[in-house]
Assembly symmetry: C2
Homo-oligomer: 407 residues x 2
């Protein structure tokens, strides 16, 4: 008998019919003999409806009160799901974040979980009940309602799984697992049976938005086995766990990509200490998030400095840069918002030489020019012209045999 924490997101509980479907799934899991804790989000659309009401009242809602408002969304779902379980003869009980003592700091709208006292949950499990917990919410030390920010339900599920030492934390969503790359780009893309926490972090931060990064970090920290599955389709999903020896055979787990990039370059920057900070600080100070940063070795006494930003921030960054270039005595500023980033991700990369050269050879064979390169221990990223995205991803997917079953 295992203890499983299941989490169902907003789409999975988006209608009364879907909540009933989730109740069927939970009941079936319970009848297989496992203890089940369910974490749910607000019904899809509900959070937006509530935010809409608040924005009719005032332009900037008081953060404490916004949490009081938004936390009702999950509270509705826990009640409905528990009713659905009870009416199916499956004993169940619902709890708000406050009722199961999910203690957070007092940073309203983006609180972090500090501790969970799951005594009450344990009692209910021992009594044979399914426990249904509202995701995304907690209480601070003064009993004020807090929310964890969007996507926080995943974090609630992982935190509960860690506290309860659950055997697995299953995240039910509208995709049936983590794929080698986006199946819309590469029809041969294959669902991975398992992936490491580190790979998942690289994959999700690079655009494969299956899980919230925070929940993966949390799961990694407390070594909670995470599984991503579909609410709507049967299947084993993808297990995300700490690296073990059996995984070594897979060199590359997947190919992530990001369409929404833009790059900016300052050419002919005097090669002096502190230059990078003088370029980046004003950009970051304007609230623009910077993704990749690449600086080439200096020719003569000057260097070229390139970084990428979200495409939406391109124009603002381009407004700031000429002033900086002028101050630094740089030669020229240019940029391009028609670029994409493609990344190979895999823990096997660490122990296998030649990954980078296969990657570059493959792209060269297709006549694709690489505009930037950046690497980390388990990732190689390249920036190429937007028009080459599909061609590049398909060629790489094939070159690394990702369509074949492995992992």
């Amino acid at each position: 008998m295992a203890l499983i924490v299941q989490k169902y997101g907003g789409t999975s509980v988006g209608t009364v019919e879907r909540i009933s479907h989730v109740a069927d799934k939970v009941k079936a899991a319970r009848e297989r003999g496992d203890d089940i804790v369910v974490v749910v989000s607000a019904m899809s659309g509900e959070t937006n409806r509530l935010v809409g009401l608040a924005s009719e009242i005032c332009t900037r809602p008081e953060p404490r009160e916004l949490d009081v408002l938004l936390s009702t969304g999950e509270q509705v779902t826990i009640a409905l799901l528990t009713m659905a379980l009870e009416t199916r003869g499956c004993a169940a009980r619902s709890y708000t974040g406050g009722q199961v003592h999910i203690r957070t700091d007092d940073a309203h709208n983006k609180a972090r979980i500090m501790a969970i006292n799951a005594e009450r949950v344990r009692q209910d499990l021992a009594a044979g009940r399914v426990v249904v917990v509202a995701g995304f919410q907690g209480v601070d030390d003064n009993g004020n309602i807090t929310t964890l920010g969007r996507g926080g339900s995943d974090t609630t599920a992982v935190a509960l799984a860690a506290e309860l030492q659950a055997d697995e934390c299953q995240i039910y969503t509208d995709v049936d697992g983590v794929y080698t790359t986006d199946p819309r780009v590469v029809p041969e893309a294959r669902r991975l049976n398992s992936i490491t926490f580190e790979e998942m972090l690289e994959m999700s931060s690079l655009g494969a938005k299956v899980l919230q990064i925070r929940s993966v970090e949390f799961a990694s920290k407390y070594n909670v086995k995470l599984r991503v599955l579909s609410s709507f389709k049967e299947g084993g999903g993808t297990l995300i766990q700490a690296e073990d020896d059996s995984m070594e055979q897979a060199v590359i787990s997947g190919i992530a990509f990001n369409r929404d990039e833009a790059k900016l370059t300052i050419l002919g920057v005097p090669d002096q200490p502190g230059i990078a900070a003088r370029i980046i600080s004003p950009v970051a100070g304007a609230g623009i998030e910077i993704d990749m940063i690449v600086q080439n070795i200096a020719e003569d006494s000057s260097t070229d400095f390139t970084f990428t930003v979200h495409r939406n921030d391109y124009d603002r960054a381009m407004d700031i840069l000429p002033g900086i270039a002028n101050e630094l005595g740089a030669r020229e500023v240019n940029g391009d918002d028609k670029i994409v980033k493609i990344s190979l991700v895999g823990v096997g990369m660490r122990s296998h030489a030649g990954i980078a050269s296969t990657m570059f050879d493959t792209l060269a064979a297709e006549g694709i020019n690489i505009r930037m390169i950046s690497t980390s221990e388990i990732k190689i990223s390249v920036v190429v012209d937007e028009k080459y995205l599909e061609l590049a991803v398909r060629a790489l997917h094939s070159a690394f045999d990702l369509e074949q079953a492995s992992a």
Copy 2:
């Protein structure tokens, strides 16, 4: 500086615009220098929407979970109203029933308030904040969310006023006070400046549905001054308080009536002890509420026994009665569902003779036949044919000079 508890019902907070309007009123009251605690209901329609969701899930929702669901309605309102106050520069803070420790028994869906720990409310008031509390809800000793049943927000307001020893508990609603009778029947009906708790109880149980009976009983028990006012119209409303000497001049405070009555009679019942119980028990046992009961003195060795029920229950009661009559050896059963009850209410009745005779003379002068009479210390009720309702109420309103300012 006074401490005022204000309660706004569902219609008063039914839209974002109305919540903003309530915020304006609360802010104005605060700026007059009073300490203000506001109790709110769910936005009108919200409770029905939630009940609708539950009924899509199952036919008989688990009572505990129904409370978890329904309590979100008021939670949305407290958040929105508090935001509206804050954005107007009026410091405020919202609390759910659980957060201000409104302890109830564990009778879900119809819980009763046992105690309130208003320490946190006092602290906020001392800090100059308006306190906004969710009506209708509390928590039991195990921290489970409970609701007080429909209309429970009035009770929350009165209980808070009692605990805080507030100077007044103001119930804002869609009528601007308690009237001598229904202005739709008698255009000359006058708003009462004040009325006693006992009169209010008789008026409200008789059909003038301004306040929930429970909240009036509660206010009477803890001697909380209640005031009924309109959310939409300026005016002093009606103050409901304990009887004092200054009220003696008003003999009759008002005329209540009830259109939804039906009467049933068993004729020729043997006049023996225990007969009344043998008639009433099976009817009550079928879940039918009985209003008036009248039994005349016996002629010979038999008597006639009459009672009234809600018109909706007439057919069911009529199905039960012949069996009882048969058992008792009664002569005949008859009934009439085209009747109404009209009641004069007034504490002054106790010290003034002749009220009843004026009432009967007035009805006789209009040719209205009285079918039943029942009296209590501060009330005389008669049953007449439905068609006479308007005529009878107008004649009595005039006969007792209710259109003239007094009270």
